[in-house]
Amino acid sequence: MVERSALAIYIAAIVLFMMGAFATIILPFFDPDMTTPTANAEARNYAPDSPEAKGRLVYIANGCNTCHTQYVRPVKADVAMNLGPVTVPGDYVYDKPHLFGSNRTGPDLMWVGSRTNAQWNYQHLKNPQKLVPGSIMPKYDYLSEDDLNNLVSYLMSLKPATNAQAAAFNK
């Protein structure tokens, strides 16, 4: 009788937990779709001390992913918003930590580098309302010049692998 033994509840609870954990956490490791890097993943596999890598840390420290997602789904909304290519698990293999985000208070940034330029991003970070009237994005003018430039480098690197990169990767 399970209601008489705390130990029995304990063990059964662990076993049931492990079943779900195995299916949803362990099994994906054996799916090559989840683990094989794509050309896009290589394009954002930054060297440790590069401006892009440093900019990514600025992105994290300021919590940009609180309001901006980095993934494009094959659904009508993302197609209509013209967010760029649909992303696959392999695009994120080198993302540590991942920056998926869960809320679009602001637009998706997965491929933001392919629709903006460095100058625009720099000015927009300093004073979003000046370039986008009515924007509810906070000002990031409190960042140091280095941090801002690194962040801009990171944002500008967020673009799909070029045809040349893809060809080199597929070789």
């Binding site: 209601e3 789904r73 094959p74 659904v75 009508k76 197609v79 209509a80 918003m81 013209n82 760029g84 649909v86 637009p107 491929w111 580098g113 392919s114 629709r115 903006t116 330029n117 460095a118 100058q119 625009w120 000015q123 370039l131 986008v132 500008m156 673009k159 799909p160 070029t162 045809n163």
Partner: protein
């Protein structure tokens, strides 16, 4: 389990808490069964959504409509709402004054500060032409 034998009104006490042995309502049993059937059906038949083919995804063929979809919200960031100029210049009439070839070059290779939007987004030649067609319609 021994509960089946207990009369429904039977009440016992565990840890000082009284508990009865009311039966499982019939509608709940129906809900359990319905959900179980649905689960099997869904597991076997559900497919992922793919709506990419419906809009903007056509890479062949030239039309101002497709061009507009490609321009989408990106160009407006720099060229202003309605493309009347912002950080970048106005796009109204730009194809007429600068010529189609020049604008195509900018789209493909970028300008002084402008990103090489066609290259970065892997646009086909047809898609570039569609964007030019859409730009001609900006008044």
């Amino acid at each position: 389990m021994s509960e089946q034998h207990n009369h429904e009104d039977h009440i016992d006490e565990v840890n000082g808490m009284k508990q009865g042995h009311g039966k499982v309502p019939r509608f709940l049993i129906i809900v359990y069964a319905a959900l179980a059937c649905w689960a099997v059906f869904y597991a076997l038949t559900a497919k992922g959504i793919d709506e990419t083919a419906n809009a903007g995804g056509n890479t062949a063929g030239v039309s101002a409509e497709a061009g507009k979809a490609l321009m989408g919200q990106s160009c407006a960031l720099c060229h202003g709402q309605n493309y009347k100029g912002g950080l970048g210049p106005t796009l109204a009439g730009v194809v007429d004054t600068k010529g189609e070839e020049y604008v195509t070059g900018i789209l493909k290779n970028g300008g002084v500060t402008m990103t090489a939007i066609a290259k970065d987004n892997n646009w086909t030649d047809d898609q570039v032409k569609s964007v030019i067609a859409a730009m001609k319609e900006i008044k």
